[in-house]
Amino acid sequence: MLSISHPIQIVMGLIIWSVWFVVLYGLQGIGCNVAPPAAELGPWTWINALLLGLGVCVTLLLLFAAYRCWKAGQDQRVEEDSHRRFIARISGGIYLFSAIAAAAVTVPVVIYPPCV
């Protein structure tokens, strides 16, 4: 795995979020073009289920990464090196926010029908 204090960690959470956002929007669009479910079904369709499942996975992944950064911040060696601590803390915060953001953008799939 990538070192926890590599500067790229700072943006990794949001890169994952961005990819998820594109996938979310893309799958919805393609799903509605290829096999649009009937509007009567409301949100109870295969598209919503698929997106919800994926959304949960992405959120959990980001939460795990946030936890890892937080753990690393507690580490004695990192604790002493202020540059590494800085990166670990910022990345941890951003992973956490990305997890919340990933969950938030997924929420509408439980309310809205996919293609109307």
Binding site: S18, Y25, Q28, F97, P108, Y112, P113
Partner: protein
């Protein structure tokens, strides 16, 4: 004369002035120095601001009373389109870029930006492009389809005049400057900070600008691509946005807002950066929540790319998709709130000194908070459906843009004025300027929310009396004129201060950051010696720093060699690793920009052969530019006793050039990704998409051409590998071979394009394919040519084991060319084949 100059350092500083100074007289046009170029950006931007402001006054005059016909519908449409265009593209972004270019090197403790000639090129592209766009107003053929240029209204059928062409070509020309500033600021901030200034010691403003610059790199390419495609549709009859043939007008909206929304944050971030810089200074207290703010900046930078569809809530996209974007739009409120409360915490713990800049910060607070809150309302889809495209949105947008950008910018002007002029601004006139602007602004736009809720749509040149809009519009117009008077007072104040302002002492606001350690008024080289900066508040900790720097107590104090030198440092830790030689004054930027302007005018007036010839000259001019770089014998001659601690950048594998190349390829990659997006979008969503049953490209020659490209890249890779391993054998030969194979690949690919039965004027499928092939050809050609140049440079000794830097810079270009080729084959040939078979 600055108070820092004394008998001890005078002659040495004079020598610095000579080496770093601009040429006299007309020679000023060859200046590449960041201070000069940055100020030129700012001044030019202010001129465009006044032009945009006059247009705004015309709009308010026309709308002051119902059923007026001071302006015709056509004139009004030109005016509101140009108001938006000028304010966004010719004022807001360039001014902020200019301010950043001026400030960043001073804040990170270096003498210039890392690609000085690129700064100058950017400026001239901006200037010429801006003149071209604005000239359309005087020719009465300005674009009249809105600053957003929605197709099909902006297409050749509904807008047969030259207006949209002025817009598309002019804006693309101006965007060269944004892209070059973006690349340059990223690399400068990451690679040329003072020794010991690790990421977490950077002044907070640098984080904001780093985010802004990266957002420019990723945000502008979709617009550039969109403009190129629309111009191709208008001029060459290709099909991208027209329904018949398989285009889709919504593709334009996607591309435009993919740029358009990040752009709002590109404008807001530097504004917020100014606020974050000024608040601690006037609270006389280090900024609290530095880490929180850094996090907020990064969050904004990313999330702002996930909002673009909120400009398209009413186009009929399924609600579920709208809801994704609605959520993302609301999420942005969180990082904004984090910053606001970090500022409050700073003020809470500080003792606030009330100077003029602080007044403008206060104006920012009030206006921007209001604008942000209406922004949250607009992010809610069911409410947006009511107020979308009404004056409510006009009001909201001016609250965030004027509040988030103009007010902080003016605060910044007042704050950094002493830097430029060596004098302090006056208090009385300045306060008048503030209050008039502030009151006028709120009078204009607060009431406009109601105008919108009462149902007045945007972009109408007149309206019936008695709809409940009359009084509101009159008040808005009166407010607009009060604001205009305020701006006039402000300009008067700033102009007068250059003559009558009190002399400023060193660091007049008692600030903490390094830009106040330079001489006042500012010199061209900023620092006569480059200090270590292992702290976030160097001026708080050592107020004598300016004198010590002027006295040459720190690094690179020797200027007897007559070369412009700065330190190159590591991106994360800020440890110095090399000395970078910067180019001096040069005519190449002006010359290149002038030739590109001819290309632009040739396309505009449809003298295509002129454009073609000029394009060839532009390429030649740019190649000549690349020939005279930092490793050229004239700037870094190979001598036996040259310094090795730290070594010159051209003697190392990791150089700013490499970073510049990689960042530029990221922007380029975004352009490519936008094109791929367009392809998939049209394929899946265009109402009348049509693809030929048989793929139009000859498959075997295409694959063979790809194999050759791969081979050429591999040969180049061998040469680079040898260089890295310290083995200089046969380099020249390898470069020639790579270049030759590249040439054959190019020829084959060109043949594939020419022999294919493509009908780009009939089918969107063929149009996109044609553009993609041309894009590949340009990159293959470029890789081939620069590799041949490398071979020649090995011959001349500019590239060798001791000077290994250039091939390392060229390598990412090959990787990129290879990647886009195979991706294109996968997306345009293999995927449709597989899809058809399934």
């Amino acid at each position: 004369m600055s108070e820092l100059r004394n008998a001890g350092n005078r002659s040495r500083l004079a020598q610095f002035d000579r080496v770093w100074g601009n040429l006299p007289g007309w020679g000023q046009l060859s200046a590449v120095n960041h201070t000069s170029v940055g100020l030129r950006f700012v001044v030019t931007g202010m001129v465009f601001f006044l032009i945009g402001g006059i247009l705004a006054m015309l709009i308010r005059t026309q709308l002051a009373l119902p059923e007026q016909d001071i302006l015709s519908s056509s004139a009004y449409n030109q005016i509101f389109s140009m108001h938006g265009t000028v304010m966004m593209f010719l004022f807001a972004i360039p001014v902020l870029e200019g301010a950043a270019m001026y400030l960043i090197p001073k804040m990170i403790g270096t003498r210039d930006l890392v690609f000085p000639r690129l700064s100058a090129l950017g400026y001239y592209c901006y200037l010429f492009g801006g003149i071209i766009i604005v000239s359309s107003l005087f020719l009465n053929m300005a674009p009249d389809a809105g600053w957003f240029m929605y197709t099909p209204l902006s297409g050749s059928f509904y807008s047969p005049g030259l207006g949209p062409d002025f817009w598309l070509l002019g804006i693309t020309f101006v965007e060269i400057s944004a892209m070059s500033a973006g690349v340059e600021l990223v690399v400068s901030i990451l690679r040329t900070r003072a020794n010991g200034m690790s990421l977490r010691k950077m002044p907070i403003f640098c984080w904001y600008i780093l985010a802004m610059a990266l957002m420019i790199v990723f945000g502008f390419p979709p617009l550039i691509l969109g403009s190129i495609l629309l111009e191709l549709e208008r001029a060459a009859g290709m099909v991208f946005f027209e329904v018949a043939g398989g285009g889709d007008p919504l593709l334009w909206q996607h591309l435009f807002w993919l740029f358009g929304h990040p752009e709002v944050y590109i404008i807001f971030l530097p504004g917020a950066g100014i606020v974050s810089t000024l608040i601690p200074v006037f609270a006389q207290r280090p900024l609290l929540g530095y880490r929180w703010i850094v996090m907020a900046i990064i969050l904004m930078g990313f999330i702002s790319f996930g909002l673009w569809v909120h400009h398209m809530f009413t186009v009929g996209i399924p609600s579920l998709a709208l809801a994704f974007f609605s959520m993302a739009s609301m999420l942005v409120a969180v990082p904004t709130a984090i910053q606001f409360f970090a500022w409050i915490a700073t003020l809470w713990t500080g003792r606030v000194v009330f100077h003029l800049p602080m007044l403008w910060i206060l104006g920012f607070l009030i206006i921007f908070v209001a604008g942000g809150l209406t922004g949250v309302m607009l992010a809610l889809v069911p409410f947006d459906w009511q107020v979308h495209d009404t004056h409510f949105v006009v009001a909201h947008m001016h609250y965030v843009l004027v509040g988030g950008m103009l007010f902080p910018l003016i605060a910044g002007f007042y704050y950094w004025l002493p830097h430029v002029s060596g004098r302090m601004p006056s208090d009385t006139l300045g306060r008048w300027g503030f209050w008039l602007t502030f009151i006028g602004f709120n009078l204009t736009f607060l009431i406009m929310h109601l105008t919108g809720l009462f149902g007045m749509p945007r972009r109408v040149y007149t309206y019936e009396a008695g709809l409940g809009w009359d009084l509101f519009n009159l008040i808005s117009s009166i407010g607009g004129f009060i604001m205009a008077i305020g701006i006039a007072v402000l300009i008067l104040d700033i102009a007068l201060h250059f003559r009558f302002g009190q002399r400023a002492r060193q660091n007049p606001w008692n600030a903490d950051s390094l830009e106040w350690a330079v001489e006042m008024p500012v010199s061209t080289y900023n620092f006569a010696s480059l200090p270590d900066v292992p702290t976030r508040h160097p001026m708080f900790e050592d107020p004598t720093l300016p004198q010590k720097i002027a006295d040459g107590k720190y690094g690179l104090a020797d200027i007897s060699h007559g070369l412009r030198e700065i330190y190159g440092s590591r991106a994360g830790t800020g440890k110095v690793m090399q000395v970078i030689h910067l180019p001096t004054n040069s005519w190449l930027p002006l010359q290149s920009a002038a030739i590109i302007a001819v290309v632009c005018l040739g396309l505009l007036t449809k003298f295509y052969w002129v454009a073609l010839v000029a394009a060839v000259f532009a390429v030649l001019s740019l190649l000549r530019w690349s020939w005279h770089n930092g490793a050229h014998a004239s700037s870094a001659p190979l001598t036996d006793g040259e310094r090795t601690d730290p070594p010159l950048h051209s003697r190392m594998l990791d150089s700013p050039g490499l970073w510049g190349m990689v960042v530029a390829m990221m922007g380029n990659g975004t352009l490519y990704a936008s094109l791929l997006f367009g392809w998939f979008y049209l394929w899946t969503a265009a109402p009348q998409w049509e693809a030929p049953t048989q793929g139009p490209l000859a498959l075997m020659p295409l694959l063979l051409s790809g194999a050759l490209l791969t081979l050429a890249a591999l040969v180049f890779r061998v040469a680079v590998g040898r260089l890295r391993a310290g083995n200089g054998n046969g380099m020249q030969g390898l470069f020639w071979i790579a270049s030759l194979i590249g040439l054959i690949h190019f020829g084959l690919l060109l043949w594939v394009l020419l022999s294919a039965p493509l009908e780009p004027t009939e089918l969107a499928h063929d149009s996109v394919l044609t553009v993609m092939l041309m894009y590949l050809l340009i990159h293959s050609g470029l890789s081939t040519v620069v590799t041949a140049m490398q071979a020649m440079r090995v011959q001349l000794g500019y590239v060798s084991l001791r000077v290994p830097y250039e091939p390392i810079v060229v390598w990412p270009l090959w990787v990129y060319t290879l990647a886009i080729f195979w991706l294109a084959v996968a997306a345009f040939v293999l995927l449709p084949m597989g899809w058809g078979a399934a």
